[in-house]
Assembly symmetry: C2
DNA sequence: AAAAATTTTTAGACAAAACTAAAAATGAGA
DNA sequence: TCTCATTTTTAGTTTTGTCTAAAAATTTTT
């Protein structure tokens, strides 16, 4: 295996991560424009990079037919995601960052190349299974736990559920959750769905009743209790 | 001040660090070839980069006359060195790396951009003043302690001294020091200088007598007791 | 002070990754 | 099936950082 240890550029790594992300763990194929939007670049640049990644067998690609991430591509993506999430845990647990401050720093740290560093960091953190936003951390073989989860808006009235993760790690959304009093692990009871605007009435931790917007209800992922 | 927050590229940062290093903390001017050797590149590339850094007022430069790092350049260099050394402390103290394994990883981590990350890391580590190789860690204003230190080979016979730092952080040299039983803080007594090959007879921590080569005696920096 | 050796700069290319503008392919609607 | 809007690719540049080869300046030697 000649390029077992090939090192991908910063740019390549970011594209691979974006494609993996947009494909839902590699199930679906991804089109050029979607990648361009995700990466904040132009479709022309995406076309160029796709040809390059295809030559390196990181994606399967036929002109005009979109890309599908390969097994090799999945492995690379999962390694980057593992690093990203471990660093996020470090920043929150050890350096006392707030969960809405860590994403951009982890975006840089995820590209540090040293397998030994990551295995030592993993051990130092006590082999965490989830990052501060509730996302699962793949192990060194890319295996991670998948808990069934769905958006809050899909849960029927009367049902109780637990917050597993969030669909949006933006500072604005996380700060909003803080204000409302929702975090990973919080128990919510769905009281009512308001037909007219899609907002949802909920009770937080058996005591505080409130209403969340449809946008929030879409981004809070829960598992029924 | 327009470019107060200008972000230097990875390449620019590495050149700035190399120039600072070769100039002994900004005292001396540095010639093109020396930079090329330090950076493992060609004099032509160095010429190009010097012109660029000079335009950005990071160095003072006149054709054929070598470069002198500016105050601005010094500040940038010291920030990178601060990050490098703090990360080295983290790797050794928290992740249990050995002192000969950390340099290359710190070489990557030193380029992570986040002032808040560094101040939190500094606090997490207990505001260390020295890195694992004995080098001083500049504070956020670039101030660092300078202990008088000289190579072991300069100490006269009969004198005792303490190991302050090492001039060479290569794995080969550090592993050699481990084998001989010398580390930062070790007390050495100089027993004799062997005229014919420059080797030095020493006694380590008042008990073990041995002889070190002239190369080693050059790279072990000590302060007389 | 001239010649020789060394150092440094310039000229010209190249690769990676981006962009704009234009061309080509695709797919949906009529 | 034809038209037309949308998507995707190609063509041609640009920027950054590198390289080799050649020219120019400086320093050392004689
Ligand atoms: Mn990234
Ligand atoms: Mn996360
Ligand atoms: Mn570096
Ligand atoms: Mn060090």
């Amino acid at each position: 295996m000649s390029n077992f240890n090939y090192v991908y550029s910063l740019s390549e790594e970011n594209y691979i991560k974006a494609i993996y992300h947009l494909s839902n763990h590699g199930q679906e194929s991804v089109n050029t424009n979607a990648i361009a939007i995700e990466m904040n670049t132009t479709p022309a640049s995406v076309s160029d990079m796709i040809r390059k990644l295809s030559k390196k067998k990181v994606v399967d690609y036929q002109k005009y037919r979109g890309v599908h991430i390969s097994e090799k591509g999945k492995e690379i993506a999962l390694k980057i995601i593992r690093k990203h999430r471990l660093w996020e845990v470090f920043l929150v647990e050890k350096l006392n960052f707030h969960w809405d401050e860590v994403h951009d720093i982890a975006e840089q740290l995820e590209h540090i190349k040293s397998p030994l560093l990551i295995s030592k960091l993993d051990e130092f953190l006590g082999f965490p299974k989830h990052d501060p936003h509730g996302d699962p951390i793949p192990d060194e073989n890319g295996v991670f736990s998948t808990v069934k989860k769905e958006p809050l808006c899909n849960i029927e009235a009367g049902q109780s559920c637990k917050v597993i993760t969030v669909n949006d790690s933006s500072s604005a959304f996380l700060k909003y959750l803080d204000k409302v009093g929702i975090s990973i692990g919080t128990t919510l009871r769905i009281d009512d769905h308001n037909e007219f605007d899609g907002s949802v009435d909920i009770t937080i931790n058996q005591n505080k009743s409130t209403t969340v917007s449809p946008a929030a209800a879409q981004n809070i992922l829960v598992t029924p209790l």
